[in-house]
Symmetry: C2
Subunit: 349 residues, 2 copies
C-alpha cells in the first residue's frame, strides 16, 4: 500500500536515529574521533528535535515516497528514499526556525517558535534569537549528514538527487528573500518559497531516486507545482478559518503579519473603494482587534474571495490530476498520488 | 610545488563558476528546468560573492590541498580536491555572515559585514538582518551544491569526505553556541569554533580525499588541532596589535566585544587585584575609550601575557611539527605543511 504507513514509521525512526547519532560524535559516521569528544551541548539539538517531532504532517516525506512509487514501487521503500524523506523534513525544520525569526512569529505547530523557546530558556530575547539562528543551522547540518550517508550505488543517480536537493534549498532561500522584500508577484513567491520544497522538490527527488526517465520529470514537476499552489491556497484559508488547535497558529496571524495572500488579492480585486481602504489600512496593522478580524472575514465572504480561492484550489488540483492521468506510471503510485492530492486540497489542518 | 599557486587559482575559478552557475538555475547541474526560471534576484548572491572574494587568505583551501599532498601529491590537484577546498571557503563565508549578525560585528575583511551592507541597501537594519540570515543560508546552500557534484568514484571514500564535512559543520555550530552562552572553557571554544573548520576539518578532508590510511588520521588531527590553536592565539594578538588595514578589523574590537581570549585569561591570571578589577570592569564595556584600550595594552605587556601567548603559539606549533616529523608521508607534502605552519604562526594578517 502506498502511502505505506510503515514508510512514515521508518522516516520517524530515521529522524530519531539521526539525533541520537550526533550525541556521540566520536563514534559517528564510521570515522574515528576526528574532533575530541566534548560534553555534548544539548540545548540546540533538543530545540531542533522538539520542533521536528512536534506535529507536522510529514507531507513532504510522503511525496518523496510517492514520487518514487510512480516509477518503482520497490525503490519507494529503499533506505535511500527513507533518508531523503527524513532530510527533507529536517530542511523544513531549518526553514521554519529561520523564517519564524525573520517574520517575528512566536507560535509554531501549536507551541512556541524556537527563538521564543530558546529566549525563555536563556532568559534573554537577544540570546534566544542568536541561538535560534544556530538551531536552524544545526537542522541544516543534520540534513547534510543524512544526505552524506545516502546509499545509492549509481554515482550519476546519486549526484542528480543531491544536486536537486541543493537546488531546492537555494530556491526556497530566494523565495523567502523576495517575500520579505515584497518585490515579486505573489504567484512567484508561492512557487519559490512553498511549492519548491513542499511538493516539487519532494516529488522530483522521489522520481530521481526511482530512476525516472528524463521525459517524465517535466510532467512530474507540473503536477507537483499545481499541488503546491493548491496547498498554499488551502493554507491561507486555514490560517483564517481553521481551528487553531489543529493548524497550530492563532486565527488571523496572517492578517496581523500583513501577508498579501492570494485570498487578500482576490478580495481587494473585487472590493469597492471603501472596502479597499479598510484592507489597505488594516492589513499588517500592529494591533488588529477581534472586531477588525471579523470585518476581514466578512469582506472575504461578501466579495466572493473565499469562493474564488476555493475555485482556484479545485482548478489547480484538477490540473494536477489531469496531467497525472495521462502519465504511464505504476498504478499503485498513481492512485496514491491521486488520493494524497485530494487530501491536500481538502485538509482541515 | 606544494602549496601550488595554480591550486589556489583553480579554487578561485571554481568559486566564480559556482556563482555563475546558480544565476541560470534552469541549466544547472545537468538537470532539466525543475523549477520554472524566474528573474534571478541577485542581491543575496552578490552579497555572498562579495564577502567570499573580499580578501581572505584561502588558508583553509591550502590546508585541504596539503592534507591531500601528504598522502598523494597527484590527488592534491584533483578536481574533487579543488571542489572541497572551494566548499570549505563557502562554509567560512556562511559562518562569518551568521556570526557577524550574532556578535553584532559591523566590519569584516576591511568592509561592512553582510548584515550592515544589506541593511544599507534595503534602508532598514531589521531587513538587513533578515536578509543576512538568508545570505548565510545561501552560502551554505552553495557549498551543498559543490559537495553534491563531487567527482569521487569510490563510494566509500566519497561518503567519508561528505560525512566529515557535515560533522565539521555541526561542530562549528556547537562551538559558536557555547561561545555565546559563555559556559565552556576557552580551550574548548577554540577547538570547536575555530580549529574544527580552520585546520582540523580541512587537513583531514584532504587526507581522506587522498585515501590516507586510517592509522594516519589521528596524527593528522593532532597536527591540525595544534596548528588551529596557534592560529587562534595569533589571531587574538593581531586583533589587538595588528594593522587594521591588514587584519580588516578595527583595533581593540575584541576588547569592546568582551571576548575572553587566551590573552585576556593570561593577563588576568598574572594581574594584581587592582589590575584584575580594571579588566573585569572594562572588558566588553560599551564605550571603551582609546585610553582604556591603551591601558589594556599596558596590562598585556607588563603582566607578561603577550610573552605567554607568544610562547603558547611556539609551543603548539612545535608540537605540530614534531608529530609531523615522525610521520611517513610524502616529502613534498611534509615540507609544504611545515612551511605553512610557520607562516601561520608568524603571520601579520
Amino acid at each position: 500500500m502506498i502511502p505505506d504507513p510503515t514508510f512514515i514509521t521508518a522516516v520517524e525512526a530515521r529522524l530519531a536515529r539521526c539525533f541520537d547519532d550526533v550525541r556521540q560524535p566520536a563514534t559517528t559516521a564510521s570515522l574515528p574521533a576526528l574532533f575530541e569528544a566534548t560534553p555534548q551541548e544539548d540545548m540546540l539539538l533538543e530545540a531542533v528535535r522538539d520542533l521536528t517531532f512536534r506535529g507536522g504532517k510529514r507531507l513532504r516525506a510522503q511525496l518523496v515516497h510517492i514520487g518514487a512509487a510512480l516509477f518503482d514501487p520497490v525503490a519507494a521503500s529503499h533506505g535511500a528514499t527513507v533518508d531523503v524523506a527524513a532530510a527533507v523534513e529536517l530542511l523544513q525544520t531549518y526553514f521554519l526556525i529561520h523564517d519564524d525569526i525573520m517574520d517575528g512569529d512566536e507560535t509554531r505547530r501549536g507551541g512556541p517558535s524556537v527563538h521564543v523557546a530558546l529566549g525563555a530558556r536563556c532568559q534573554s530575547d537577544a540570546m534566544g534569537m542568536q541561538q535560534a539562528i544556530l538551531a536552524g543551522d544545526l537542522a541544516c547540518a543534520l540534513q547534510e549528514s543524512l544526505m552524506a550517508g545516502l546509499d545509492i550505488a549509481d554515482a550519476q543517480r546519486r549526484t542528480r538527487v543531491t544536486a536537486l536537493f541543493a537546488h531546492m534549498h537555494r530556491t526556497v532561500i530566494r523565495g523567502q528573500s523576495l517575500d520579505l522584500l515584497g518585490t515579486a508577484p505573489p504567484e512567484t513567491i508561492v512557487r519559490l518559497k512553498t511549492a519548491s520544497y513542499t511538493t516539487e522538490g519532494p516529488l522530483l527527488l522521489g522520481a530521481l531516486l526511482a530512476d525516472a526517465p528524463a521525459s517524465a520529470l517535466v510532467p512530474v514537476r507540473d503536477i507537483a507545482s499545481a499541488l503546491g499552489i493548491a496547498f498554499q491556497y488551502r493554507d491561507d484559508l486555514l490560517s483564517l478559518f481553521g481551528a487553531p488547535e489543529k493548524t497550530g497558529k492563532p486565527t488571523g496571524s496572517d492578517l496581523r503579519a500583513g501577508k498579501k495572500t492570494h485570498l487578500v488579492a482576490m478580495a481587494w480585486e473585487r472590493a469597492d473603494t471603501a472596502t479597499r481602504a479598510f484592507i489597505d489600512a488594516h492589513l499588517g496593522a500592529a494591533h488588529l482587534s477581534d472586531n477588525d478580524i471579523a470585518t476581514f472575514f466578512d469582506i472575504f465572504r461578501h466579495t466572493g474571495a473565499i469562493a474564488a480561492v476555493e475555485s482556484a484550489i479545485a482548478h489547480h488540483t484538477d490540473r494536477a490530476l489531469q496531467v497525472l492521468s495521462r502519465m504511464s506510471v505504476s498504478p499503485v503510485g498513481k492512485s496514491a498520488l491521486r488520493a494524497l492530492a485530494i487530501q491536500m486540497a481538502q485538509r482541515d489542518a
